[in-house]
């Protein structure tokens, strides 16, 4: 009969009380035993962690211990969860332990580690501080706090750097669009090692430029072509008086006077502003997003609307003027085709037989 009575009920006979006390003691010693069994399991190694957790859980379920000791149980279970990598459970247990006994510095330590592993940096720091309030001299906690604060700084610095990169890319994208340059899919990434356009101190645009020689399938790469440079200036460099003819040019057709530059018109579609930004940032164009109106107009389903043609580049023009032409869509970076007026290939090429 006495078994069913609540401990704080009013009418408890002395015999009933004795029974209750005895039961209580039993349950408490069972809990203590379970706790010690759990500790043993932990010492036995990873294979037995689950059993350890089991013991602690059963001990907790007994509800027979006081706050301080139950706190220890939770803290112990937290430790095993940490060892198993169950960081969420570890954090929960640690928090429980602290609620029961805020002086449980081990719980603070374990909770902070769990929070750190989960990426909750501010919570981790809070838990360290809580523990240090109880034990200001605790070396482990101080060290852990320092590690976490460092990580927080690094993370903030990385965020700031990324934000600054994005901002720079946005400025660059705006300027490219303002200049009237149409950028299409970057088709030549391998040939150009993912080089990107850039802005100098005077906010002038500089482009890496690829020159292709269709006659020999050779190529040249101009690392820095400022938008207001003329093609003539760069051709002077590449085909200057002191420069030998390329090895493949056995007939010496590709000389300064004979070379001509071309671009292919209307080689769409254009990248949207979002895709352009992605291209400038990541080094790859983003997968096709929602096409905006410009893309729809330029895509290949309307082949007759925009004819691909070879357009000659007047060599005294600046890159700026040629890129601003409405029919010029560059494949990520400007690409020009080099031909020689002295070669029979010239006419073949222009009549479309290439």
């Amino acid at each position: 009969m006495a078994l069913w009575l609540e401990p704080d009920s009013e009418n408890i006979t002395p015999e009933a009380q004795t029974d209750l006390d005895a039961l209580s003691a039993l349950r408490e010693s069972a809990a203590i035993e379970l706790k010690e069994k759990g500790n043993e399991y932990v010492k036995l190694g990873k294979k037995y962690y689950k059993d350890a957790i089991d013991c602690y859980s059963r001990a907790i379920q007994q509800k027979s211990m006081d706050a301080v000791n139950t706190s220890i149980l939770h803290a112990n279970r937290a430790q095993v969860h940490l060892l198993l990598g169950n960081n969420r459970h570890a954090l929960d247990d640690a928090q429980q332990a602290i609620t029961l006994n805020k002086a449980n510095v081990k719980a603070c330590f374990r909770g902070a580690k769990a929070a750190l592993a989960l990426g909750s940096i501010s919570e981790a720091i809070e838990l360290c501080s809580l523990g240090l309030k109880e034990e200001p001299e605790n070396m482990e906690l101080s060290k852990l706090k320092a590690i976490i604060e460092n990580k927080a700084k690094e993370s903030a610095a990385a965020d700031a750097e990324r934000a600054s990169k994005v901002a720079k890319a946005q400025v660059l994208a705006s300027i490219i669009l303002d200049r009237g340059v149409s950028v299409g899919n970057p088709d030549y990434e391998e040939n150009t090692a993912h080089r990107r356009p850039w802005l100098d101190d005077s906010k002038l645009l500089h482009w890496p430029v690829l020159l292709l020689y269709p006659e020999s399938m050779a190529s040249d790469f101009i690392e820095d072509f400022c938008e207001f440079d003329t093609f003539a200036a760069h051709l002077d460099n590449i085909f200057g008086p002191d420069v030998a003819s390329p090895a493949w040019d056995s007939k010496c057709n590709y000389t300064r006077e004979k070379v001509r530059l071309f671009y292919k018109s209307n080689k769409g579609p254009k990248l949207s502003k979002g895709q352009l930004l992605g291209y400038l940032l990541e080094g790859k164009s983003l997968p096709t997003e929602i096409k905006d109106v410009e893309d729809i107009n330029d895509n290949d389903s309307q082949p007759y609307k925009y004819l691909h043609e070879w357009k000659i580049v007047p060599e005294k023009s600046s890159l700026h003027d040629i890129l601003a032409r409405k029919d010029h869509i560059i494949p990520g970076i400007p690409v020009f085709y080099v031909l020689s007026k002295g070669s029979s290939f010239y006419d073949d090429f222009l009549s479309g037989h290439w």
Partner: protein, 288 residues
């Protein structure tokens, strides 16, 4: 005095005064606006806005007088601000209208809009004015520059001074300045090219818009102040590496070298020398 001025300005906008009456009113305002305090008063009473409403009308002599009035009114910063319509949704509309009228005027016929060039000089005293003229999207500089070789001295002077003022923004707006290279270099280099006919080995390195005039007989720029301002504008551009590179790419320094040989005015020679030493000292190494 105030009430009389009020009345005068009021007459401007009334719908039916006769042509002669209107002409006299505007003439009076032009004279009065030469006095700074009166000019300010006229501005405050909407003188700029009323002038811009009337300008571009059929009676050409009135247009000419109105440009003179606006020249006077824009001597003050307040006048420039009102003409620029700063902080207004229609910002820049007045200036664009003036540039349009300025550009359309044809040579040979009497030049009713030549004084717009002087208005632009006043407008570019303010940074917002310079930025407006330089803005590539508005294309104003492109319209203005070709008038640098006009027979009208007022036009020539105004255009060169306007460009020179704009070049003070070279630090932040170099790209905008260089984007009109096709018109910019002739405007700034031809006045400094002297009279000599250039040889093929020099002109072959220049774009057509320079090579053509320099290969033929021509009249050189007679006004020393124009030559000086052209040199100053080039100096402001050449302070920046991108500007120097662009100048070299059209064989600019060679043009200056030849032009300097014929120069006799000391002040202008100094301007050439300042520019020259900048190009040599800061410049990219160049074999001539």
């Amino acid at each position: 005095m105030a009430t009389e001025l009020d009345e005068l300005i009021g007459f401007l906008s009334s719908p039916s005064p006769q042509k002669e009456a209107r002409k006299s009113i505007i003439e009076a305002l032009v004279n009065l606006s030469q006095v700074p305090k009166l000019g300010e008063f006229i501005i405050q009473k909407g003188g700029i806005e009323k002038s811009m409403e009337l300008i571009g009308g059929q009676v050409q002599i009135l247009n000419q007088l109105l440009t003179l009035l606006i020249v006077n009114l824009t001597q003050s910063d307040l006048g420039v601000k009102r003409l620029l319509q700063e902080a207004d949704k229609l910002e820049g509309l007045y200036v664009r209208k003036l540039v349009r009228l300025f550009s359309k005027a044809s040579e040979g016929v009497e030049d009713y809009y030549e004084h717009v060039a002087s208005i632009l000089v006043n407008v570019t005293q303010r940074e917002s004015g310079r930025r407006l003229i330089l803005d590539p999207k508005k294309g104003l500089l492109k319209q203005i520059l070709p008038h640098s070789d006009s027979t009208s001295l007022v036009r020539r002077k105004g255009v060169i001074s306007t460009v020179r003022n704009c070049c003070f923004e070279a630090e932040n707006e170099l790209a905008s300045i260089l984007s009109v290279s096709q018109y910019l270099w002739p405007a700034l280099l031809l006045p400094l090219a002297g009279k000599q006919i250039f040889r093929k080995e020099d002109t072959s390195k220049m774009p057509l818009e320079l090579a053509n005039p320099l290969s033929h007989e021509r009249e050189s720029e007679g006004e020393s102040c124009i030559r000086i301002e052209a040199a100053e504008a080039l100096y402001l551009i050449a302070r920046h590496e991108g500007g120097r590179k662009a100048l070299w790419s059209v064989n600019g320094p060679r043009i200056l070298q030849i032009g300097y040989e014929d120069e006799e005015d000391h002040e202008v020679m100094e301007a050439y020398e300042r520019l020259g030493s900048l190009l040599v000292n800061e410049g990219i190494v160049h074999e001539s």
